[in-house]
């Protein structure tokens, strides 16, 4: 059967649009503000002229590759190419500053497809079971999942807890801007129509990370002639492979986290990447090195976000509910071809399409390696230019990226405002990641808390008594205090806790 499925996708009318789509994915992912969703929407009319399998291959190829390619500008320029690459600006960019950009990107190149593979294998093996679990999540459980996400801020900003708290507070405040979901009343919009649906996340994120780089470089003019990225040693895939093997447990764990979070409707690859980063730091023996350009800090998020893309397919195929907007578009296209999500998905023509999606998903992960390799090569040439060229380029990327999203100059202004905020925060050593996380999670926390309270008529009890809620709460407590608990267990057993 596997041979039949492979034969159905290894044909020129499938392969040609597939590879074209993957190349487009490189461009879309590496260009801040151009989202995979946008590319997928534009591709759909083209797929009407292709065979069903060719169309699906083209869209899936674009979507999978762009999530990886988003790490490229995040690592080189500190401007995330997609929302899911927000975490890559932490350790990935620090590696670049230490002249190890090719190492960071080689990790991305190997771990992205590994994460994607784990995600697709889980999708193939357990879509129905996982979707059934996801359905049991109601407002009460989602609140705690979001709180779990926010709890990673505590881990990320360890050592600067007060400043981390300030960043979270700013982020949560920013997330309250916009129409109140329950009453429909506009909050903090000052009559401006552009703020009705809240502060745009992508312009805010691009500005926060990108603009401070430019401002800092301008303030030390003597560095303008120097290349911004100095390559001390070129790392090839062969150099990093042994280290990838060493971190196999981390990759597997991050991919599982990514798949699970991706499979929850409403949470996506971006949240998955942050949580995986937090968990990796939590479990690390050297958590203080996170954020300074550590391997684990690159590996965890890049494995998780690709797994999250596969995870989004779980509710889509099992329930007919897309986990994110890309899946929504592909699902819409696939249903025209005869896909029937739900219990009947493996029957007849629908089964052929589902197996095709599985085959394409897995093959895309493998093909990602050569295509990603070419992409990294191409981009590394551009980024070895001197600062006097790179800095205007970052600025251009930031402006284009925030404008292209919505063709709206307001977003460009917003991007600059957040750029100044980011610059000011970094000068005062206030960490940026908690701010970004709070902007993502704020609405999720507010919505689920308020909807839950509406449902219970104001009682908080179900938030603490429902079985899954309790499991998530216990997970949060363990996550935050594992170090102490571990010490306690060791002491009880009479083992020396000091590690060699």
């Amino acid at each position: 059967m596997i041979v039949d499925v492979l034969a159905s996708v290894m044909r020129i009318e499938v392969l040609a649009p597939w590879i074209l789509g993957m190349l487009l994915g490189v461009f879309v992912g590496a260009m801040p503000g151009m989202t995979a969703t946008m590319a997928t929407a534009i591709l759909v009319p083209i797929t009407y002229y292709l065979s069903p399998m060719g169309g699906l291959a083209m869209i899936l190829g674009t979507a999978c590759v762009s999530i990886f390619a988003g790490d490229i500008p995040a690592t080189y320029l500190r401007v995330p190419g997609t929302p899911s690459s927000g975490v890559a600006v932490l350790d990935g960019y620090q590696m670049t500053r230490q002249g190890k950009a090719s190492m960071a990107l080689s990790f991305d190149l190997i771990c992205s497809p590994l994460g994607g593979l784990v995600g697709f294998i889980l999708l193939i093996g357990g879509a129905t079971a996982l979707a059934a679990i996801a359905l049991r999540f109601s407002f009460y459980e989602f609140l705690w999942v979001a709180v779990f996400g926010l709890a990673t801020c505590v881990i990320i900003s360890r050592g600067t807890m007060v400043k981390g708290g300030i960043a979270v507070a700013i982020g949560l405040f920013v997330s309250t801007v916009g129409v109140d979901i329950v009453t429909g009343y506009p909050r903090f919009t000052f009559g401006n129509v552009n703020l009705l649906s809240g502060v745009g996340f992508i312009p805010a994120m691009i500005g926060l990370f990108g603009i401070p780089v430019v401002l800092r470089t301008i303030m030390t003019p003597k560095r303008m002639e120097l290349p911004s990225v100095e390559e001390k040693k070129r790392f090839s895939i062969g150099d990093v492979l042994p280290r990838v093997v060493k971190h196999r447990a981390l990759i597997l764990r991050s991919s599982l986290i990514g798949t699970f979070i991706g499979s929850l409707p409403g949470a996506g690859a971006d949240i998955a990447a942050w949580v995986a980063y937090g968990v990796a730091k939590r479990n690390s023996k050297t958590p203080e090195k996170f954020g300074t350009g550590i391997e684990e800090g690159v590996i965890a998020p890049t494995s998780a976000n690709n797994a999250g893309v596969a995870g989004a397919w779980i509710p889509a195929l099992a329930l007919g509910i897309p986990g994110d907007s890309i899946t929504a578009i592909i699902l819409g296209a696939a249903m025209i071809y005869g896909l029937r999500p739900g219990p009947l998905m493996f029957e007849g023509a629908s089964g052929e399409l589902v197996r095709g999606i599985f085959a394409i998903g897995i093959m895309t992960q493998i093909m990602l390696i050569p295509i990603g390799f070419l992409a990294i090569r191409a981009f590394s040439k551009i980024f070895r230019l001197p600062n006097s060229v790179i800095m205007p380029m970052i600025l251009l990327f930031c402006i284009l990226g925030s404008y292209a999203l919505n063709f709206n100059m307001f977003d460009v202004g917003l991007m600059f405002a957040f750029g100044l905020l980011g610059f000011y925060m970094e000068r005062n050593k206030i960490p940026l990641p908690p701010l970004v996380l709070a902007i993502i999670l704020g609405p999720l926390i507010e919505r689920n808390l308020r909807l839950g309270l509406m449902q219970t008529g104001g009682s908080l009890l179900p938030f603490f008594t429902r079985p899954i809620s309790v499991i998530v709460i216990v997970a949060i407590i363990l996550f935050l205090s594992w170090g102490r608990i571990y010490q306690l267990i060791c002491r009880l057993r009479g083992v020396n806790t000091t590690q060699e």
Partner: protein
């Protein structure tokens, strides 16, 4: 040899430059409209239903008019950003907007000053009727077979939870209208605002809520799989794709509502321009290409000419305001 591509590029670029200077030079003459590229503003995100209709229509429209028609997505504010951009553009026929039902409530909800009187309708092209969906196990347990059964149950057991979209959104008003028609006060059910129909459907599948109002098409996959059942459709007649779902009128409720989409231009656009656009769109919606595509995609086909569309928008605006007020939202 190596220089050649650059020379060619320079040639192309300079030609384009000259051409771009030349275009504004021609005085806009409505007689031979259109003479340049047209922009179609879509107030909703790339890949959504409105975007898909907009992109297909733009493609067909550029064939009809002989000028490129580019779709740009200007999203935000429950459609307010895009509708503002469409209504406040120059009234020369070069900026169109694919308006949606939300145009009828933006001003009522205080999200924007824009309403139907800021635009002129060119043609309505689509209408997706709402439906009332419940979980099959609830339907079996309480013997719900149509909307009236459900409403009778609500009268006995107030406080059922319903979702389908955000507060004041189209499917919320669909529920409010149905309840008003049945003489049930809006506070007998609780509306849990969701980010869209998909989220509401997820909650219903997990039995976290009691019913969903959204378009029948949006719940299509679940209805076909039997994981949800529809108690009624808020359309004039039964739907061809779902002939088993009774209409509201069949069970004695005179209530219809659907999410509509149509092309509008800013108020003050000359009659000749509206006429050219309308005739082109009329030819498109009558074509087999359009009919087949809409059918494949599951979109409801519904056409109104410019004058009827204007009247329809005015009525929809008045009706929406009354229902929002009765529902205690404004």
């Amino acid at each position: 040899m190596k220089r050649k591509p650059t020379t060619l590029l320079m040639f192309v670029l300079s030609t384009l430059l000259v051409a771009s200077i030349a275009v504004p030079g021609c005085a806009p003459d409505t007689a031979d409209y259109p003479t340049k590229a047209i922009t179609l503003v879509c107030p909703w995100g790339a890949g959504g239903g409105t975007d898909r209709v907009a992109r297909f229509l733009a493609d067909q429209l550029s064939n009809e008019l002989g000028q490129p028609v580019a779709v740009i997505n200007q999203t935000g504010g429950n459609g307010a950003v895009g509708h503002n951009a469409g209504a406040l553009a120059d009234p020369d026929g070069y900026t169109l907007c694919i308006s949606t039902w939300e145009l009828s409530i933006l001003r009522h909800m205080g999200w924007s000053d824009i309403a139907h009187d800021n635009v002129r309708g060119v043609a309505m092209v689509n209408l997706d009727p709402a439906g009332l969906m419940v979980h099959p196990s609830d339907a079996a347990a309480h013997g719900w077979e149509n909307a009236v059964d459900w409403i009778d149950y609500v009268k006995q057991n107030p406080g059922l939870e319903v979702s389908g979209t955000g507060t004041g959104g189209v499917w919320h008003v669909a529920l409010l209208g149905m309840l008003a028609e049945a003489g049930v006060s809006a506070d007998q059910v609780e509306w849990l605002p969701s980010t869209g129909a998909a989220e509401g459907i997820t909650w219903l599948l997990g039995q976290h809520i009691d019913a969903v109002t959204c378009s029948i098409v949006e719940a299509g996959p679940q209805l076909e799989a039997g994981t949800l059942v529809a108690l009624g459709t808020m359309s004039e007649e039964r739907l061809a794709a779902f002939p088993d779902i009774p209409t509201m009128r069949e069970v004695g409720l005179d209530w219809q509502l659907g999410a509509w989409r149509g092309i509008t231009v800013p108020a003050g656009t000359p009659d000749e321009v509206v006429e050219v656009l309308h005739d082109a769109i009329h030819r498109i919606v009558m074509s087999d290409t359009w009919i087949n595509w809409m059918e494949d995609q599951g979109f409801g086909q519904f056409y109104l000419n410019s004058a009827d569309f204007d009247t329809f928008m005015a009525q929809d605006y008045a009706a929406g305001g009354a229902l929002l007020e009765a529902g205690g939202l404004i």
